[in-house]
Symmetry: C2
Subunit: 325 residues, 2 copies
């Protein structure tokens, strides 16, 4: 909070002072050496940090509003994967120059999403340099109830929220690597890339029902091996069961859609393990939230990820398909 290039305090006052939340648990927010926050009783603190670098996590020409949204969304997604309730965030913003237009869009994207989840921006640091955005998200969860990656048991079903691959298609469309003949589908897919929706409500409702969870940020082919390893199990997945949106299926052939679903990343859906007898409960949560929910396979004793397609072994695309990764 002490560094003052670019008129940091002007910037923060001007663009980040719009109240994002009306929280009574912020004793002291932006403006002192540190924030003072009150955690609810009988909860654990949940903390995560994610960094976005221009040209790597989003195209250089990306709308600033989308960048602001994404910077918070990827962090909210980490809390969703723990079943935690987000509460506060800090922002470390490094940018080449203070451009009022850019900052206006960026802050609107970040603060609009913050308000949806009642998250208060309680601290920040603005420095001059190459565009890099780190958001740290803080939240809480009832003691002992957080969802973990490593809680799955053999026999658990593997499931995902929403649909996969939409962001990969959206990025291809936004960067003119793909031309779609259906403008409505194209707009919807680009929106999915630009404004990912963290599954915070689903994650909170899955506590005590799912046995393990993580968010899918690098693509299922990149994230599922970590998920299976955390519980010391083997994942068996039929790629024919991957949930693909009608929009995605309308713009590319099935093989391309599956490739994006597996390797493009940026979907920010949840990957869950659930005992077969509790599957109904997660399906009910999904229905209540009007969210797709798909069982894609199961966890068995062993290790690694065993992909099949129509019963035959299938080689998942290697990670790194997307040129921004």
């Amino acid at each position: 909070m002490n560094d003052a290039p670019l008129g940091e305090f002007d910037l923060i006052d001007r663009f980040f002072s719009r109240p994002a939340a009306s929280r009574t648990d912020v004793i002291l927010g932006v403006g002192d050496d540190a924030a003072l926050l009150r955690l609810p009783p009988h909860t654990e603190l949940v903390a995560a940090v994610d960094t976005l670098v221009a040209g790597r996590h989003f195209p250089h020409h990306c709308a600033p509003r989308s960048i602001g949204h994404r910077a918070l969304a990827v962090n909210l997604s980490d809390l969703a994967a723990m079943g935690a309730t987000p509460a506060w965030a800090t922002l470390a913003l490094t940018l080449p120059r203070a451009d009022a237009g850019w900052l206006g869009g960026f802050s609107a994207g970040l603060l609009d999403l913050a308000r949806i989840h009642d998250v208060a921006l309680v601290g920040g640091d603005t420095t001059a340099g190459p565009l890099t955005i780190s958001v740290q998200i803080l939240g809480h969860v009832a003691a002992g109830t957080a969802l973990r990656r490593g809680g799955a048991r053999a026999g658990d079903l593997l499931a995902v929220t929403g649909t996969l691959g939409d962001s990969g298609a959206g990025l291809a469309l936004a960067t003119d690597r793909l031309v779609a003949h259906d403008p409505v589908a194209a707009t919807a897919l680009i929106e999915r890339f630009d404004y990912p929706t963290p599954r915070v409500e689903f994650g909170a409702a899955a506590r005590g029902v799912a046995s393990a969870a993580m968010d899918i940020s690098d693509g299922l082919a990149g994230d599922l091996p970590k998920f299976a390893r955390a519980s010391g199990l083997a994942a068996h997945v039929d790629v024919g069961r991957l949930p693909l949106s009608p929009a995605l299926q309308s713009v590319v052939a099935p093989a391309q859609a599956r490739e994006w679903a597996l390797a493009a990343g940026d979907d920010y859906e949840l990957l869950l393990a659930v005992a077969p007898q509790r599957r109904d409960e997660l399906e009910a949560v999904a229905r209540r939230l009007a969210l797709n929910f798909a069982v894609i396979g199961e966890l068995r004793p062993g290790n690694g990820v065993h992909w099949t397609h129509d019963g035959a072994p299938f080689a998942a695309p290697s990670h790194g398909f997307d040129h921004f990764r």
Copy 2:
């Protein structure tokens, strides 16, 4: 935690897995979507974030060990200014390439300081890009007891810990803008720039005694106006009372030493307001910690900073003396 360029997980395993602290309040550290942490009862959470950019906050050729130390030290200094006890940190590290030598030095600098303060590194995110380091520090303070910037009253004395200007001299020496004839003094001053000491113990002991505090990171001339404004008071300071170390006085003339003390920054000492009748208590704390403690002026009704030297008005150097700011 989800991004995996440069073999992030290898990096974190290899360089950051050395236990920095043996805390029983880390329920879940690095390796899941978020960390789970247990706050002591009847405390408030204290959170701050600071970013370092190469070529701006430290010279490009700076030793990686010093950069790692600094990244945590500047954040610990923010908690010291609140009188808080640091507990956990997360690291967002953006670096051009995975260089084992650089990472070894950087992590040693960060983790050695973390161990001194019993801080656990509980999360991180490593991405490829221009060297940028954001550390978020988390700690706690007994509810209602945190030191704030704005708690001072008219009549309070203004005081600082340690000595000022040493880091400015150290940077000038390290970057060959200054040649010292006393190698022992030069080494000591460079050490002050490379390895700033956050005044965590002093800050904690000043709770309930000092009426306000902040850390001096931008230089007294930059930080004192903010400090006075936070309490709605005028600061009156005699620059002849600025605490200058023997080492600093041995390498440059008094006017240059005062200029660094006022404007060079990076000293990470504490600026405090204390009622005159409680001055003895802070002096006793300083003696116990073998730390210099100097009263430099007082707060009076009004606003702004009124500098004097030997009774005559004095114009403080404008901020931005240091070419790294």
